[in-house]
């Protein structure tokens, strides 16, 4: 044996493999006849998501169907993954609106800071997780796509009501 290698000698005189074997067999048999039923048949059954689940983004709209976003630039500033691209614009009345608003869902780390920082409650992370695309470009969601999402949005953690009561 190589120098200074610890090898634990088995306490052969004290243990019984017969008993260990029987014990193991009894355990597996108990599970065989009385399994713990925990499986969720995924596509048909789904577990309910937590109200604080942070998934695919969604942009909320005003009553006339326009995005609530005022292009203040807080979300691209706070975003730690740098996944939000915002080009602000201004109309004749001086109202700011986003000319370009894109979120790269691949770069996003779903921290939810954008929702937390948004003064207009426009951008949200949502309770949704099933996304698939044929290309990486497909995961860059533009404003139109963010507006058209319909899933429920995340309820952020409220420090004054930590248990959500």
């Amino acid at each position: 044996m190589a120098i200074n290698v610890k090898v634990l000698a088995r306490p052969v005189e004290d243990v019984s493999y017969v008993r260990a074997t029987l014990k193991g067999m009894a355990l597996t048999f108990r599970h065989l006849v009385d399994p713990h039923k925990v499986t969720v048949q995924y596509p048909e059954q789904r577990d309910e998501l937590s109200p604080r689940w942070r998934g695919t983004h969604r942009m909320l709209t005003t009553e006339d169907g326009k995005a609530k976003c005022v292009a203040c630039g807080l979300c691209p500033t706070v975003c730690p993954a740098n996944c939000i691209k915002l080009v602000p614009g201004e109309d004749e009345q001086g109202n700011r609106y986003p000319l370009v608003f894109e979120i790269d869902e691949f770069r996003c780390i779903f921290c939810g800071y954008c929702q937390e920082v948004c003064p207009e409650e426009a951008i949200h992370v949502g309770r949704h997780y099933e996304n698939s695309e044929y290309s990486r470009e497909g995961f860059v969601y533009d404003l139109e796509r963010l507006v058209s999402q319909t899933h429920a949005v995340c309820e952020m953690w409220d420090p004054t009501d930590p248990r959500g009561e």
Partner: protein
């Protein structure tokens, strides 16, 4: 048969009675026709049950592990079919460096011995037909058990040749392990069945079953032999805890690393066929074959179709129990280490089997000389009970000697003080430990005392 004095202990072969010559023409006789029918039926049932066993294995493993198992293709029942279709559609790979003839032949070689063993296993009471009695066995060989021993030992060729012809180091290691393992356990297996032959006085499987029907099941009158046989049969079929030839985690898959598609599937079919055959052998040799325990009327002539049906059901139930045992053990026990496997085979099972032959031969001679009747007296199988008593004593001795009374001790133990001191000394010598002690003495002390846990 051997109630008088010192008759020969074992009659190796008796002359075979030729089948009654009832025929339509010189080349087609009734026995020939029903033999062909039996071959077709047995082969079909055997193949279908091997396929269903893959499903059973997956379901039982799933339930043991709190999962559901396959439940999509026709509620799971179509899974074997889906697997078969998948294996047919897959690409057959043929690595460049393989020994082509042997590589192609090996899957068949693994499979054929297991299949041909079924020819001599009786699976029900004989069926009376218009043309005479039809024995429910494909070929009622008078040397049945010798045939089984000789063919079962061929099973290792498929695995060894697969491992060698693949030209892959892991496959070769798997093949080497399997040859060592199967050859060692074959000896214990053969030795463990000699008491059965001594007791029956014949090597025909029909006689072995009749002998158990007259007295007690061999598992009771020859329990140690039964135990050794069951363990050896697990090793022979390469099932866990003896699956060293495959050993996914260390040999990637052992002998079938280089195989794909249907050739790979053939090894799996061979494994399940081997399981069925080994289970049927256990049932035939030690658990009364197709007889129904305690129901003499159904086990003896005059034969009727319903007796055949009941005994067939009894046989299937017994075989299924052992198949379940195979799976239950597979999903419970971890794999042996290689040296432990060899030690168990050569140092425990072989001496035990050899000693048991001597003891049982002496006991049979003694009981025969004392004039103890082989048949039951007023429904009490005296002969079997005498052997059962002997077995209980022997089993107790075996557990005390080999297990040293550890059966009742816990399955785990604390490390001894001496061992702990030795480990600490090793640690003291280690330069790494020295530095750790200089840096944080408190932590080092805690670590070394933690060894005992």
């Amino acid at each position: 048969m051997m109630t008088h004095g010192l008759a020969p202990l074992l009659q190796v072969a008796r002359s075979q009675v030729p089948p009654p010559d009832v025929g339509f023409a010189w080349f087609i006789s009734v026995p020939l026709i029903y033999t062909i029918i039996k071959i077709l039926v047995v082969f079909t049932v055997y193949m279908v049950s091997a396929a269903l066993l893959t499903l059973a294995e997956r379901k039982i493993s799933a339930w043991i592990q709190d999962r559901l198992g396959p439940n999509r293709v026709i509620k799971g029942w179509g899974q074997p079919l889906a697997d078969g279709v998948k294996n047919f559609m897959k690409e057959e790979t043929l690595p460049a460096a393989v020994n082509k003839p042997l590589f192609l032949m090996a899957p068949a070689l693994a499979f054929i011995p297991a299949l041909s063993l079924w020819a001599v296993l009786p699976f029900a009471a004989p069926l009376p037909l218009k043309w005479g009695l039809m024995p429910m066995v494909v070929a009622d060989l008078p040397i049945g058990y010798l045939y089984i021993l000789s063919l079962a030992s061929l099973g290792v060729y498929g695995i060894v040749l697969a491992g060698w012809s693949s030209n892959n180091k892991y496959a070769l290691l798997g093949g080497l392990r399997s040859s060592a393992q199967m050859v060692s356990y074959e000896i214990a297996m053969g030795m463990s069945t000699i008491p059965v032959l001594l007791l029956a006085g014949d090597v025909s499987l029909g006689t072995i079953i009749q002998e158990q029907e007259r007295g007690l099941w061999n598992v009771l009158s020859l329990s140690i032999a039964a135990g050794i046989f069951i363990v050896a049969a697990f090793a022979e079929t390469n099932r866990l805890p003896f699956d060293l030839p495959e050993a996914e985690s260390e040999l990637i898959a052992g002998y079938h690393t280089e195989y794909s598609a249907m050739k790979f599937s053939f090894f799996f079919i061979a494994e399940y066929c081997n399981m069925v055959t080994a289970s049927a052998l256990m049932v035939t040799l030690f658990f009364g074959g197709w007889t129904v325990p305690g129901w003499h009327a159904v086990n003896s002539a005059p034969w009727a179709w319903w007796k055949t049906a009941i005994t067939l059901a009894a046989f299937l139930i017994k075989v299924m129990f052992f198949l379940f045992l195979y799976m239950w053990i597979r999903w419970t026990l971890p794999r042996f280490r290689y040296d432990q496997l060899m030690a168990l085979g050569w140092k425990v099972m072989l001496p035990a089997a050899l000693g048991y032959i001597v003891i049982i031969a002496a006991a049979i001679l003694g009981l025969d000389m004392l004039g103890v009747p082989r048949t039951a007296v007023h429904g009490v199988p005296v002969y079997g009970l005498c052997l059962l008593g002997l077995n209980i004593v022997l089993l107790g001795l075996l557990l005390v000697v080999i297990d040293r009374g550890r059966l009742i001790s816990p399955a785990s133990a604390r490390v001894r003080a001496a061992e702990l001191a030795r480990l600490r000394a090793v640690r003291e010598r280690s330069s790494l430990a020295g530095r750790a002690t200089l840096g944080a003495p408190g932590m080092a002390v805690r670590e070394s005392s933690g060894v005992g846990d």
